[in-house]
Amino acid sequence: MGAEHQITAGFMPLFDSAVLVAAGELGFAAREGIDLTLHRETSWANIRDRIAIGHFDLAHMLGPMPLACNLGLTPLASETIVPFSLGLGGNCITISNTVWAGMAAHGAVPDLDPARAGAALGAFIRERAAASRDPLRFAVVHPHSGHNYELRYWLAACGVDPSREIEIVIVPPPFMADALAAGRIDGYCVGEPWNSAAVAAGTGHIVTVKALLWRNSPEKVVGVRKAWAEQAPEALAALLRALHHSARWCQNPANRDDLAAVMAQRGFLGLPPAVQMPILTGHLRLGGGAELDIDDFFVPFDKAANFPWKSHSLWFYTQMVRWGHVAHTPENLGIARDCYRPDLYRSALKPLGVALPGANAKVEGALKAATPVGSAGASLVLGPDGFFDGQIFDPDEIDAYIASQSHR
């Protein structure tokens, strides 16, 4: 007998596709009556195109990418919704040995503290500018990515204008470490394992991580073609349940070796288990012999990691506005608010009796410690979720937040 639902999904060879990959490979999808076919892609543009023309029903996507589609910022855009998040954190900012030496001369130490590292980098950038040297060139994976927005947020909060004082270019993740080693770029923001790769090669230093810039912050999501979601609501709900079970399995430390073995296969990440250990354990080598354990470095399940908070979608929107990707209008704000769909997550998981957040949005940056919160069903712990500069994002005060960040 065939499966009840046929679902085709695209993914990029990055570790944070793990929840989707494990759902297919370890039988979580099959147990929900789903025949899940996974296609590895080579660019986010391909994912976007194949979703748009119907090759894929859904895909592993950058958190801001569905917003960019719905806001009409990309070609071949099709309306895309987000009913599930694939985890929190997982990115780092890595710089060349030369930049590290320059930062160290201005007080940087290998402790990943974003404020200290940012201040040192700012001082180095001004020193170079005073000597009329070319601006440093940083790479991110895509203009509409958490990587671009967190790199910019960090620099801006440290007094560096990322649009004027550095150059930002796009480089595919697997090429980052090589581009850094070859001197084509001076630094980058990317997910693991492409930061640890540069450290292992002796060509880069990790200076800070997403988990310290904004603790438990959104990264990759499941982007679903809205037309498909409306036409196959039962298949989507079954898939969300499969992803929930898969995410729980991925979070369990006892399964780390098995998960790394799955991801190591050629059709998925295709890299040896050893290079996946930093993201699985949060134990990072920073370069120059320094090592550090990072709490909540990558969270695939805990802390309601899979809940598609509207406040996450709206924060991405504020950054799109901040950096000139989109105009702040009531229409655009509405599109951003409607893109993430906690209602679909909740209705799909309700039959499981698991902890579900009662609210659709939260004030980001308000929780200084892990906090039990009111939820339907079992208990749920959120946070901490602080931004490193102590700012708070209240989605009900979005105009004030945008105004406070407006470009000088």
Binding site: T42, D49, P75, L76
Partner: protein
Amino acid sequence: MIRTSLAVLVIDENRIRASIIEAGLREAGHQQVTVIHDVSGIARRIAEIEPDVIVIDLENPNRDMLENMFQLSRAVKRPIAMFVDRSDQASIEAAVDAGVSAYVVDGLRQQRVKPILDMAVSRFNAFSRMARELEEARSELESRKVIDRAKGILMKSRGLTEEAAYTLLRKTAMNQNRKISDIAQSLVTAAGLLGPAEDE
């Protein structure tokens, strides 16, 4: 009125496929065709070439970089957008199916671009077909080799004639509903595990 010919840039890491497309475009009367295999330094090349149309294979991992550059770079004098003729969903699907995409400078009429995209699509498809046929021919040759080795093993170990050995392989394959080459491969593997190498 004489139309100036369009400058076409083909970005494809596959040299053979790129040259097939280039030949097709030249046959169709496009004289200004440039082929790039490696995207390093591409901003400078685009500034030099000033292409009207850019054809790129979808396997290229640099598509995100290129799309961003088309919108932002100072190297690009006129904005370049993806070829999307919204009235023609079928041609978009055909392009993605074939594994190719096209980008076009702002203001260029879709009718002038479509023949170029159609050409690229048909050449991409022809190339895939050729690659598939080559692969089939190669695996055919491989199976013939492994069947010969399996026959050799049977002839030696069971004293069969070549014809009897082949018949035995074919009968086993039919009984197990498998391909002869699969049975032969199993036999060769088993023989390798159980005894000294039969023929090397």
